[in-house]
Each structure stands twice: as structure tokens, then as C-alpha cells.
């Protein structure tokens, strides 16, 4: 079998590694134009900030690929002929496949703003973006970041590290309003404030103004304010990269349409990761998932199907994490930003430090826990996931909260304060803390 994978991001690489494990004899070729070797997209910001060098963000050393017989082709696949099982590459060659995985990832979205193609306007998705940002922010005084999501805060932190003043435009009334409840968003806002980053809420981009050389010189917001700047970062999301798929018979919509086995409309052609759109997502799940973790899980799942073990994609209990300047964030399970029917939530925040935890549970007895938000403290994923999967009652979870504590040694332990706050807010179900932190405490 010759498996060709288009894209050497986390999805394509995870698929390649899994296929190598399941089928030691398979011939595997990875095609990528972006980089010769797989690198971690998530670490681009650290290269910009000088924490890491470009070579430090390669998850595997260069010998790894040859030793595991994974052929790397550094080229763009420009056309796909599914009738002949043939790819055309921009280096003048063609590549025949038995099975094909499209893991072409995303591209930054632009919403047709006037001036969006001026020099100095960009998103942050891949290495070319990092190069552009390094070049275009060279020696500038102010950059405007558009978007109140995860990339928005990253861009602000990046500029801040170079002594460039960031101004952040956020559409909603608080940060990342589609995901974070107001209390959590307020803690993120405190990070902006501590680092003296200006954030304009209820504000969107209307227009980008250029100078005579075609470079950005200012933005105009929907409030009519003109903000002078020399660079604009667009952090308003990404959309599937469909360039190759559209050259072929593969059916697409917003993304490449796939069934639960990640099969496209054409036999022997699969799609996974950011570029895939699920025809029938499971209840409560979105059709296009654009996370590092989901990319990895989809890559692993499709590898099983490719190796003759048809496996439906089941995401399992949701999880995600991020860091906002110095504030760590982890979330597990169902953690909606606002009130959700049938769900209740308990929130505790440290009176002085930036530490908070929110536990979501069903309003009806026995109040099964469905999700967690943690800010400024670390929760053990395996424990949270087990509680959610087993529908543990919130009283049980709180009584054993220490089991989920993943903070380093000597860190202040907040379980007693959390339980006390819960007992004040929900006096009808009194909880006694039974388990404290550490691997040696056994369940009673």
C-alpha cells in the first residue's frame, strides 16, 4: 500500500505514525510545501518572542523520518486526479497513490475589509506568517490586533514582548465571549491590564488605511475611531484550505465533506483535521474542528480506517487549554459561556490571586458533573474525564477534588476554600472534603 498524505501538520503526521505502527510494511509519503519537516504550529509565538529557535519547534529530530521510513516531499500538490489516483506536484513530478489523506489544514479568514491586502496586514497560522510578522513588525511602535480569541491574545503577547504597543479590538463585551463566562473573561482582562495592553470591547474593524507605499498606516473601527498603527494582526479565525480539493472531484462545502470514518465522497480519499467538515457531527459537536488536539485525534482515527480497521471518529470528552499572558486555562467537558438549559454551575475565585475554578453540573438530581473551567490552577485530565464520563454527582466531585489537583508541589491548595464556598452557595447539599492532593491518597 502506498499512502500519500498531503500536509505535514499534526493531523498528517499523527496519521503517518499510526499507520507505521499498524502496518510496518506500508509505504508512506508526506507532501508539504510549508516546511521540509513537521513543526509545531502552536509554538510559532515562542519563536517570535525569542524563547525558542526555529529548529526547536520540530517535535522530532530530522533522523526520525528516514529511520521510520516516512518519505518527505517538500512541494505543493497542485492538482488531484482521483480517476487515476494521481497527484501533480509543483516541482514538475507526479505522485501515484493507493490511498490519499488530505490534511491540508486551514488558512486565515479575511472578511472583505477595505485595505485587508495592504502590506503589514496578516493572520498567524503558519511559517510564512511568522516570517512576515517578524519582517513587518521590525522596529514599529504600534500594532492592532483584531479578534478576541486565542490567537488574539497570542498576537498581543508577541508584540508586547518586543516592546511594541498592542491595541486589541474585541467584538463582544468581554474577552472570548463565545467560550468564556464573564467571570473567567474578567480574569483574562486583568492580564491585559497588568501588561498594560489596551483592549477595545464592543469594537470591530471597519477599514484598514494605507500609506502611499501600500503599507498599513491606521485602522478605522466600527465606532469610527481611527487608530494609527504600522501592523494589523487578523485573529478572526481560520477556514479550511480547499485549494487542492477543489481541483478534484472531491465534494466540498465549507470544508472537505467527510463521513464519520473521515472518508470523502471519493473512494480511497480521506480528509482529517482542520480541513475536514463532518457531514453529521455528533450532538453538541461542531462540523469543523480546528484544534491541535482534534487534529491529532482525527489523524489517529483515520489511520485505523486506512489500515483496514474501520474506526468512526469519536472525540470523547472535550478538552482544551490555553495561556493568556501568565494565566493558564484548562477546560474539560461541556463548559458553555452562558446559561444553558438544564445546567447549573458553581464558580469559585480566589479573593486575591488570579485563580478560579468553575464546575458545571446538571440542575436535576443527582447533579451529574458535565464540565470544568480552570484558570491559574491545573486539573488532572484523567480524573476530570473520568468524573464526566461516569456522571459523578457534584457533591462527590467536590469531596474528592484533591484527586484532580495537578498543581506543582508546595503550591497553595484551594480545595478547602472551594468546598466551603460551594457549601455556602448550595447549602442543600453539604460537602465534606475527603481527599486532598497527591498520588498516595487512596479513595475511601
Amino acid at each position: 500500500m502506498h499512502l500519500v498524505i498531503i500536509g505535514n501538520g499534526i493531523t498528517g503526521v499523527t496519521c503517518a505514525l499510526t499507520v507505521r505502527r499498524l502496518r510496518p510494511d506500508a509505504r508512506i509519503t508526506l507532501v508539504s510545501a510549508e516546511s521540509a519537516y513537521h513543526y509545531a504550529r502552536t509554538a510559532l509565538m515562542y519563536v517570535y518572542m525569542g524563547h525558542l529557535r526555529p529548529q526547536d519547534i520540530k517535535p522530532y529530530e530530522d533522523w526520525f523520518w528516514a529511520e521510520n521510513r516516512l518519505a518527505l516531499v517538500h512541494a505543493t500538490a497542485t492538482a488531484l486526479n482521483t480517476a487515476k489516483n494521481l497527484l501533480v506536484l509543483d516541482n514538475g513530478t507526479t505522485l501515484a497513490y493507493d490511498q490519499l489523506l488530505l490534511a491540508t489544514g486551514s488558512e486565515s479568514q479575511r472578511f472583505g475589509w477595505p485595505g485587508q491586502h495592504l502590506a503589514g496586514v496578516q493572520g498567524l497560522y503558519g511559517l510564512p506568517d511568522l516570517e512576515a510578522m517578524t519582517r513587518d513588525t521590525h522596529g514599529i511602535a504600534r500594532g492592532v490586533v483584531v479578534g478576541g480569541g486565542l490567537i488574539g491574545v497570542e498576537l498581543a503577547e508577541m508584540l508586547h514582548s518586543r516592546g511594541i504597543e498592542p491595541v486589541v479590538l474585541v467584538r463582544d463585551g468581554h474577552y472570548w465571549a463565545s467560550v468564556l463566562p464573564p467571570e473567567e473573561a474578567n480574569l483574562v482582562h486583568q492580564q491585559f491590564a497588568q501588561n498594560r495592553v489596551e483592549v477595545h470591547y464592543h469594537t470591530q474593524l471597519r477599514e484598514i488605511l494605507g500609506d502611499a507605499q501600500g503599507r498599513v498606516r491606521a485602522v478605522v473601527t466600527t465606532k469610527g475611531e481611527e487608530i494609527a498603527c504600522q501592523w494589523v494582526g487578523l485573529a478572526t479565525g481560520v477556514a479550511p484550505n480547499l485549494a487542492l480539493a477543489k481541483s478534484s472531484a472531491v465534494e466540498t462545502d465549507r470544508g472537505i465533506l467527510v463521513d464519520e470514518f473521515l472518508r470523502t465522497s471519493v473512494p480511497n480519499v480521506y480528509a482529517a483535521g482542520d480541513c475536514a467538515q463532518h457531514r453529521q457531527p455528533a450532538a453538541g459537536e461542531v462540523p469543523i474542528e480546528q484544534l491541535w488536539y482534534t487534529g491529532r485525534m482525527q489523524g489517529e482515527t483515520v489511520a485505523h480506517t486506512l489500515c483496514g480497521q474501520p474506526t468512526a471518529y469519536r472525540r470523547g470528552v472535550w478538552f482544551n487549554s490555553a495561556k493568556f499572558f501568565n494565566l493558564e486555562y484548562q477546560t474539560y467537558g461541556q463548559a458553555p459561556a452562558g446559561a444553558a438549559p438544564g445546567l447549573d454551575s458553581f464558580y469559585w475565585e480566589h479573593p486575591a490571586a488570579s485563580v478560579a475554578v468553575r464546575i458545571y453540573f446538571r440542575a436535576a438530581a443527582p447533579h451529574a458533573v458535565v464540565g470544568f473551567n480552570a484558570l491559574g490552577l491545573r486539573l488532572r485530565q484523567a480524573v476530570c474525564e473520568q468524573w464526566i464520563a461516569q456522571r459523578a454527582p457534584v457533591a462527590t466531585v467536590l469531596a474528592h477534588l484533591g484527586a484532580a489537583n495537578f498543581d506543582p508541589e508546595f503550591f497553595p491548595q484551594h480545595e478547602a476554600a472551594v468546598v466551603a464556598a460551594f457549601n455556602r452557595q448550595f447549602p442543600q447539599q453539604t460537602v465534606v472534603l475527603e481527599r486532598r492532593k497527591g498520588l498516595f491518597f487512596k479513595e475511601k
Binding site: 509545531a40 529557535r53 517578524t134 503550591f411 497527591g438
Partner: protein, 453 residues
């Protein structure tokens, strides 16, 4: 995949920071003047002015750099600054440090008349202090101990400011500062004051290899009660406390909490921790070097005892000669000149990683007989590489984290920086049951590929 990134301009250093750096530079200049000045009175003046300027400048700079900013991981421009990325400043620093070690080890011995070679003008200003602490004039080793302790304390203060968001780092840094000042500087001095053997209660065989040589043991025992206790202490620490403590806490109880070499690496060496080589090739060199060195010092110790017990055999003489060469090659060149002199080029733990027999011994225990591990939090790793970057021991931490596996490596000294630097809270140093210690997270299906040698 090395994108052509424009080297960006570093943010301008503030005038206040420049001033503090100028104060440090002034202190180093004063040290040179002390070296050059033949007049004992002015030597004193220059020498103490140097210590004062370097101390004040370093503390003020650390506060401006870290203390005055919000607490958190602060690595900005680490790989862009010449001083921390093997640039010109780093090479000059390395040459100066190496030069100091060469001068100290081979060109500053007592000539029998109280002259200490090239460092003579720095030794004598310490006579008064040495007299008060140790009841005898200073020598080149007292000068070295003073500089070493000062470096640990000043750069320890910097580490306390830099890592104040982590209580683990605060307590650990305070610990290395305490052990260096008390156990490796004041107590040996006070022992001398009371006419007792100069003994370091924080160094053990096989690092302090001669503590269990028959020559040292017999001379200590002759000294009476305290000497006998010292022999007992040394043997008990090497053969009982080390395995027991390592079983419970891993090798960190020593390497990153107590040891003086580790103490210097964690404080003065902190700006250089990212320079350790993370490649598989470097790991192979580590294994090739450190275990043979452990075997060598065990063999030499055994030979010396055979010689001692049998009253002189040809084999035993070989032991004495080998001990002498071991002292030169490993004790001086490797641990001192290369180990510290090359901090700005090879990173802060070259000696601990490639050469220290104590680290090898602790590492074997940690790997096979310990409750210690660094846990990975399920499938949360994003392969960003910050953990590997800050690992001073050159462990490619992310190889384990991205596969959901716990990190159990002989080399790990438990400094905890990977856990501190991880932007997703994925890593945690833990002591837990040995059962299932190597168990990977079920939330990620680790490939069985040969990633590590």
C-alpha cells in the same frame, strides 16, 4: 525548515537597566585593578569596591528585569540576545571563566611564602575575613569559595525574583542558597577555626571521591570523635541516605536542592540552561561518559583499599597513580574548567550530565528504584518544546509529553523548570506508588515507534 527570519532589533534597554549593568561592569573593572595594583592598601579598596559594586549592580538589575514585572515565565529574547545564545558576549564570558579556573587550579598555589601566584592580589584582601571565620589567613581556595558562594547568593536572588510565581522554585532556590552558604562555606570554615578537619557535610563519595579513600579515612579517624563522625556521616550518606532519599524523592533531593555544583548551575547558570544539547547524539555521549566515570572511581577506590588492606601491592600503587590522574582530568579539568568555564557555550549542567559519578549513581537509583516521575497530564501536550528548551540536563522532555508518557530519566535532576515553563500545565513532578510508574495516559495512544535510542 529554517525559515529566514529577520533578526529583530531587541527592545531598547532602559536607562535604569543600563545603569545597573554599568555598576556591575565597574565592579569587574575594580577587580582587574585589584589584580594589577601592587599596593596592599589599594588592593583591599579595589577588591571590596568590586564586591560591593557587583553585588549591588546584580541585585538592582535582577529587580528591574524580573521583580518589577508581573510574575510569570519571562524568557523574552532569550535566543536573540548574544549573552544567552552563544554570541560574542557569551564567548568572552566563557573565556574569562575558563581563564579564571586555569589560573586558580594551576597558577595560584602557595609558593611557601604566602604568595598565591596570579591571584595573589585577590587572595590577601580576604585575609581578615578568613582569619575571623577560619582562624587562618586566606588561600586561593578560600577566594574561590567566597566567589562561588557570592555567585550562588546573588544569582539566587535573581532566580527568586524570576521564578516567584512557583513556590516549588522559591523553596528549591532557597535550599541551594542555604546549603552553599552554610554547609559548603561557613561550616567548613568554622571547623578549621576550631582546629578540626575541613569537612563538607554536603558532598559525598563518589562526587567527593577522596572522602572514602583509605588515606582520608585514616587521617579523619586519627582526629578523634568528630573525625570518626565525619567518616560515619560520609559513608552513611553515600550508602544509606542516598538510596533511601532517592527512593522517596528521586535524585532531586541532592542534585537540585543540596549539591553545590547543582546550586551554582541553578543560580548563576540559569541564564544558560537552554544551551544544553537535546539531540539523541548528545544523549549517547552522556551514557558513554558518565557510567564509565562512575565505574572508574569505584575501581580506583577499590584498588586503594586493596592496597591498604594488603599493605602495598603493585595493583595498589596503580590505584594511587590512577587517583592522581582522575583528580586532574575529572576533578579539575572536567568539573571545573569545562563544567563551569563553558557555561555560556554548553549550558550549565555539562559536568552534572556527562561527568559526575554521583549523578550517575543517583540516576541509576532514580531510574530503577524510585517513586519519582514527572507526570504528563493526559493528552494536553501541544509539542511546543518549551519544556525541552529549559531542560538543563538536555532531556528532550516533549518526546515523552507528546506521547502522554511520564518522564523517568536517569539524568533528570528535578529542577522543575519544565513544569514551570509549560504553557499548558502538562507536566508535574510527583512522588507516587511505584506500581504503574511508567504507565502512559490512556487519553493518547502513544505510537510504538523508536523515538529514543
Amino acid at each position: 525548515m529554517n525559515p529566514t527570519l529577520v533578526t529583530p532589533p531587541l527592545p531598547a534597554t532602559t536607562p535604569a537597566e543600563k545603569l545597573t549593568l554599568a555598576v556591575v561592569a565597574g565592579g569587574l573593572l575594580a577587580l582587574l585593578l585589584a589584580l594589577a595594583d601592587a599596593d596592599p592598601g589599594r588592593q583591599h579598596l579595589w577588591f571590596y569596591a568590586a564586591l560591593a559594586l557587583v553585588s549591588v549592580g546584580t541585585l538592582a538589575w535582577s529587580w528591574l528585569k524580573f521583580g518589577a514585572h508581573p510574575a510569570g515565565v519571562r524568557q523574552d529574547n532569550l535566543w536573540l540576545r548574544a549573552s544567552t545564545s552563544r554570541g560574542a558576549v557569551a564567548w568572552v564570558t566563557g573565556l574569562v571563566l575558563t581563564g579564571f579556573y586555569v589560573a586558580l587550579y594551576w597558577f595560584s598555589g602557595d609558593d611557601g611564602h604566602g604568595h598565591f601566584g596570579v591571584l595573589d592580589h585577590l587572595v590577601h584582601p580576604l585575609d581578615g575575613f578568613s582569619q575571623a571565620l577560619r582562624g587562618r589567613p586566606a588561600d586561593q581556595w578560600f577566594l574561590y569559595g567566597t566567589f562561588y558562594t557570592l555567585a550562588v547568593l546573588l544569582m539566587g536572588a535573581r532566580a527568586l525574583w524570576k521564578y516567584r510565581q512557583s513556590r516549588y522554585q522559591l523553596i528549591r532556590t532557597a535550599s541551594v542558597m542555604f546549603f552553599q552558604l552554610g554547609f559548603a562555606f561557613l561550616i567548613p570554615g568554622v571547623l578549621l577555626f576550631f582546629q578540626q578537619p575541613e569537612f563538607y557535610f554536603s558532598y559525598f563519595w563518589p562526587l567527593k571521591y577522596d572522602y572514602l579513600f583509605p588515606g582520608t579515612v585514616t587521617s579523619l579517624v586519627k582526629n578523634g570523635g568528630l573525625g570518626v563522625f565525619m567518616v560515619f556521616w560520609g559513608a552513611a550518606m553515600s550508602f544509606i541516605a542516598t538510596p533511601v532519599l532517592t527512593y522517596f524523592f528521586g535524585k532531586r533531593w541532592y542534585c537540585s536542592w543540596v549539591c553545590g555544583c547543582g546550586g551554582l548551575a541553578e543560580t548563576a547558570g540559569d541564564p544558560y540552561r537552554q544551551l544544553s544539547d537535546k539531540s539523541r547524539a548528545a544523549w549517547r555521549w552522556e551514557v558513554r561518559l558518565i557510567y564509565p566515570i562512575l565505574a572508574l572511581i569505584v575501581a580506583i577506590t577499590a584498588l586503594l583499599w586493596v592496597h591498604f588492606a594488603t599493605g602495598g601491592t603493585l595493583l595498589g600503587e596503580a590505584g594511587a597513580v590512577a587517583a592522581k590522574w582522575y583528580g586532574f582530568a575529572i576533578g579539575s579539568v572536567f568539573s571545573g574548567v569545562i563544567g563551569v568555564g563553558f557555561y555560556p557555550i554548553l549550558g550549565s549542567r555539562v559536568w552534572c550530565r556527562f561527568g559526575c559519578p554521583m549523578a550517575a549513581y543517583l540516576g541509576l537509583l532514580q531510574k530503577h528504584f524510585s517513586r519519582f516521575r514527572i507526570s504528563t497530564n493526559g493528552g494536553q501536550c501541544i509539542s511546543c518544546g518549551n519544556c525541552s528548551n529549559v531542560c538543563e540536563m538536555g532531556i528532550d522532555v516533549k518526546q515523552y509529553a507528546q506521547r502522554g508518557e511520564p518522564i523517568i530519566r536517569a539524568a533528570c535532576v528535578g529542577c522543575g523548570l519544565c513544569s514551570t515553563a509549560c504553557p499548558r500545565g502538562v507536566l508535574n513532578l510527583e512522588n507516587g506508588p511505584r506500581e504503574g510508574r511508567y504507565q502512559a495516559s490512556p487519553l493518547i495512544h502513544a505510537d510504538s515507534l523508536r523515538i529514543l535510542s
